[in-house]
Symmetry: C2
Subunit: 294 residues, 2 copies
Amino acid sequence: MGANELSIGLVQVRCGEDLEANSGKTITGIREAASRGAKIICTQELFRSTYFCQQEDATCFRLAESIPGPTTDLLQSLARELEIVIVGSLFEQRAPGLYHNTAVVIDADGALLGAYRKMHIPDDPGFYEKYYFTPGDQGFVAWETKYAKIGVLVCWDQWFPEAARLTALKGAEILFYPTAIGWLPSEKETLGEEQVDAWQTIQRSHAIANGCYLVSVNRVGVERSSNGEVIEFWGRSFVAAPSGKVVQEASDSHEEILSVPVDLKQITETRQAWPFFRDRRIDAYNGLERRFID
Amino acid sequence: MGANELSIGLVQVRCGEDLEANSGKTITGIREAASRGAKIICTQELFRSTYFCQQEDATCFRLAESIPGPTTDLLQSLARELEIVIVGSLFEQRAPGLYHNTAVVIDADGALLGAYRKMHIPDDPGFYEKYYFTPGDQGFVAWETKYAKIGVLVCWDQWFPEAARLTALKGAEILFYPTAIGWLPSEKETLGEEQVDAWQTIQRSHAIANGCYLVSVNRVGVERSSNGEVIEFWGRSFVAAPSGKVVQEASDSHEEILSVPVDLKQITETRQAWPFFRDRRIDAYNGLERRFID
């Protein structure tokens, strides 16, 4: 591989009630991706548990953990052992009663570089995140890791071009999105393909607008909450090139570990061919900080 | 049709050296779209001439005209006669030596509601627009017309999520993009499909991010400049729904007049299902007005 070439790992798995089994599965997936050459490996959102936000249930707060804590300890020792960068998503207890949907960035020497706290929090039937997670208060970040400068955003952030833009303006070459999105049974037949397509389209557009790689890692499989609600997570984890082209994509129905080669030179080449950063009208973007201009 | 249903007209044509013939062809296209029920009709970018920006040639400034001027007079009388809204692109002379790439919005009574002056100006081989056009200084605008509240952006603006966002925040229900984009012969085989896909993807993403309709009208056909440079304009004019789904799309190789039914109720319904405007982090978008955050 050339100096700018590396492989990115994506760990797309099913989760069940056994937290240890879930963690074990993602650890195994990280090891597999690393064994296939991946140097920066990203987990799906909240990989340690099922997607508990299907319902509002105070007992789920017991799933939260501190940073540093058991999961970051585990991921840090794994990163050090395998000399890989890990982007790991977890349910963070920042203080008693104060929780975030967070992704940590761990460098290849095991150092915890930092954490991104999800800024845009969804709330709609089956995805009651506003109950659990305080919106992040630290903004958008990019970190220089051993292998690339990377930014991390989480799931619902996908729908907001501002989040990708600010992270790219901070120098991120690759945007990572740990994700938990799926179909409600009542919608799958009529809207299912349209939903997946919109989800992939908006993320590919961030790669295009910013001339960077984009990596989205989604969970897969059917999860049923204790009140009988069902979500079928659609997998389809993927890597998009700076041109927006999908380089590789996982299944919508089964577990899959990807190790996807990327070439960071393509960032410079794409931005030279499509010089959008040159032409942004930064004198005229006043109003983006408004709710609505009425 | 219901109260929120209407059809949108797109006029995708070839242009040649005869200015009168070019205007006549677009006028004929507008009449055809109107006869098929279109109530808001959009022209391609700079429909009165070939895409003269293929080269830097001072004699092309003679193509510019004032607003109001002959082309707006023509479009205004047509709008009044047919009771249609027209979005018309033209090369504007604002003052001697001061030119813009402008799109006018004409209401169904023939009134000239206003003009949008292209804010983002490209410049790359075959598309030397920075030579001809001063970047717009009036920002992003939405106009209440007889049939819908609409915003207009032009071609290169397509690549900037900020432009679509600001226009949507001003209340636009439909974003119109008169466009002139095509393949260079040296790139078509290797990059052609990827370029069209990126172009459509980023525009569909604006419909998704903002929950509005998006209409893109591109010219078609091969144009050769006097210095022998060739662009094959790829047509593919299209309408995207607020979900990002392509409702209808024109050919990549021949002239086509579309009249595409849309339902403005879908804007509210899509925004309720995907409430992105609810969740924008307007407290945290500081930095979007910077060139790069280094």
